[in-house]
Amino acid sequence: MSRIAKEYGDIQKTLASNDPIVNPYQGLIESLNPIDETDLSKWEAIIIGPTHTPYEHYRFRILIDVPSSYPMAPPNIRFDRNNILHCNIKSPTGEICLDILKPEDWTPVWDLLHCVHAIWRLLKEPVYDSPLDVDMGNIIRCGDTGAYQGIIRYFLAERDRNICR
């Protein structure tokens, strides 16, 4: 657990900086904080949708559970429910299919910033070989990128309309 405390200090300093060398996550990761300062096992992050994707101009909330065996075991990361549409994300639960977050592929070298960054990369470059949302995966596998992006835009617009109401 002392490791996560260390990370917390580093994350705060990194994300607070305006220097692109110190903080390469500028414009990618808006925040990464424990939900409750006294409990470092539950975190939340806000990432910014990558440019030139349907996610541009949107913000997404990510929930992170840090198990007691961390860093030997990976953190458990998911999106908010029904908050995003992506071929590697199960929208109703927010579950993410990302190799480095699986116990067999996780290595303790990664930290939370790496993980959140990897998820941001996933939004930018969907991996359609191993889709979690099969329908979305099929659309993109057929090469219909336009339809894929259109559906996502529609979903996100709907989402925001629902929130406004």
């Binding site: 490791r3 260390k6 580093d10 300093k13 900086s17 110190v22 075991a73 067999e104 303790p108 070298v109």
Partner: protein
């Protein structure tokens, strides 16, 4: 060790931010802390011994490059270990020295809150127009009279006019101050090579080294640190001898590196614990294996296996990789603390003797040593402190246990404690004490010990709980029982 969390980004707002990289390089990729007993993998990566072993229990590959290898291929890196020890001891003063200067008032407050060391330095170096006499005055507070002349010469040598050199000087002084906070090292002459060494080092390692080297027909390697003065000065002047080691070596090592390396050969006498395939073993065989190592056999099969694996990891890391291995008892303590934090507390508390009794007490809500117990769980446990703290109690328990063998009548047990103590004389009182249930006795004794320690100002744990009305009453009872002269009815 300090409990303060350090990260590499501490160097971000210093005048040399690139030290961030050096700081990062000296850290383990797994725990992000400075490498502790570093080991090298066959693929050329370095991790803490315990971290990588724990990882290899999950996955037999390098966390960085995924190269597959077995645990037995790990090799320790003594030099990296030394570098890190040296660096970590220098780090606070280094940070302090290159910190970007802010307005004086702010820095002062900031630094004082930062650490004891730096606050001391700050006090000394704060006045802008300091002259050497002022410096001396401040230093005298911490210095022993013996060292005073050496120090004065230092202030003469180092120019304190320019800002930068003053900073260097401050850093240097912080080292000196740290040294001084240690008890004065006594020097003694080695009867074989006729050189002077700190008494401790002489007894611990140097004599053996000297003897072995002599028997091999070699000249003993002179320890560089102490050489110049003992040869060149016929007279025994204390200052130069004490000064040279401080200039030459990092403050953390007690002995020279040569001594350590020679000692490291002796470590191989302990055999490594093998990995065991438990699938073919039944429960009782596993238990047998554990008890043959002197480990607890409580818990389910899975816990037993996990416990063995963890112990094997601790053992091999300690005896195969570490330059300064701790003894088996300390390993068992570490295992127990791991057990407490990872598995359910042992149900049958009596099996583990005294320690589990203390655990029980914690569960009962008496929290006077909760702090120490918390440390017991995370590896910062102060074993020596614990022993010193309860030394009286251990001695007393032994005494009482011996007495108990002689006395036989277990009556009067249910009478109120206070009433008894006032009505009865000291001898009867003692019998009374003996008849109480053992855990209760330990508890009271420890509370008494806390108060006694407080009196000597050698408290290891914060005793905020002493204000409890209930507790203080018990304490008074204890003291009455102790101090009443015999026959004062």
């Amino acid at each position: 060790m300090d409990h303060q969390i350090t990260t590499a980004s501490d160097f971000r707002n210093t005048s040399i931010p690139n030290l961030y990289q050096l700081d990062t390089l000296l850290r383990c990729h797994i725990c992000k802390d400075f490498l502790k007993v570093p080991v090298l993998t066959p693929c050329g990566h370095t991790f803490c011994s315990l971290c990588i072993r724990e990882h290899l229990n999950n996955q037999p590959s390098c966390p960085l490059c995924l190269f597959e290898f077995r645990e037995s291929l790990l090799r320790s890196e003594f030099l990296v270990n030394e570098i890190i020890q040296c660096y970590t001891s220098l780090r606070p003063s280094l940070l302090n020295a290159i910190r970007v200067q802010r307005p004086v008032a702010a820095t002062g407050a900031d630094k004082i809150s930062n650490s004891k060391d730096s606050s001391l330095i700050e006090l000394v170096s704060e006045p802008e127009n300091e002259n050497s006499s002022a410096v001396d005055d401040d230093l005298q507070i911490v210095a022993t009279s013996e060292r005073k002349p050496a120090k004065r010469s230092m202030t003469d040598i180092l120019p304190i006019s320019s800002k930068s050199s003053k900073r260097n000087f401050t850093m240097f002084r912080s080292e000196r101050i740290r040294k001084k906070s240690k008890p004065n090292e006594q020097m003694a002459q080695c009867p074989i090579c006729e050189q002077f060494y700190p008494l401790k080092a002489l007894e611990k390692t140097h004599l053996d080294e000297c003897l072995t080297l002599q028997s091999l027909g070699k000249k003993p390697k002179p320890s560089i640190n102490f050489l110049p003065d003992s040869k060149s000065h016929g007279k025994e002047t204390p200052e130069p001898r004490l000064r040279t080691p401080e200039l030459d070596r990092s403050p953390s090592d007690e002995t020279s590196h040569v001594d350590k390396y020679l000692g490291s050969m002796a470590n191989t006498e302990r055999q490594r614990l093998p990995k065991i395939n438990f699938t073919s073993m039944n429960q009782s065989q596993i238990k047998q294996k554990l008890s043959s190592l002197g480990l607890s056999t409580n818990g389910t099969r899975q816990i037993l296996i996990k416990r063995y694996n963890h112990y094997e990891m601790l053992w091999n890391s300690n005896f195969c990789d570490s330059l300064e291995p701790v003894d088996e008892a300390e390993l068992k303590r570490q295992l127990l603390s791991w057990d407490v934090s990872h598995n359910k507390p042992p149900q049958n508390a009596n099996n583990n003797g005294g320690i589990s009794k203390l655990m029980m007490m914690k569960n009962r809500g008496k929290s006077s040593y909760r702090k120490l117990l918390e440390d017991f769980k995370n590896d910062k446990f102060n074993r020596k402190g614990w022993i010193i703290m309860f030394r009286r109690d251990f001695a007393r328990l032994i005494k009482e246990a011996k007495l108990k063998i002689k006395t036989v009548s277990p009556t009067d047990r249910d009478l109120g404690e206070q009433a008894n103590k006032k009505d009865k004389g000291d001898s009867e009182q003692q019998v009374e004490n003996i008849q109480e249930a053992s855990w209760q006795r330990i508890e009271e004794d420890q509370e008494a010990a806390v108060s006694e320690k407080q009196a000597i100002n050698e408290i290891i744990l914060p005793n905020e709980d002493l204000t409890d009305a209930d507790l203080s009453r018990e304490l008074m009872d204890m003291n009455e029982g102790d101090k009443d002269p015999p026959g004062s009815d």
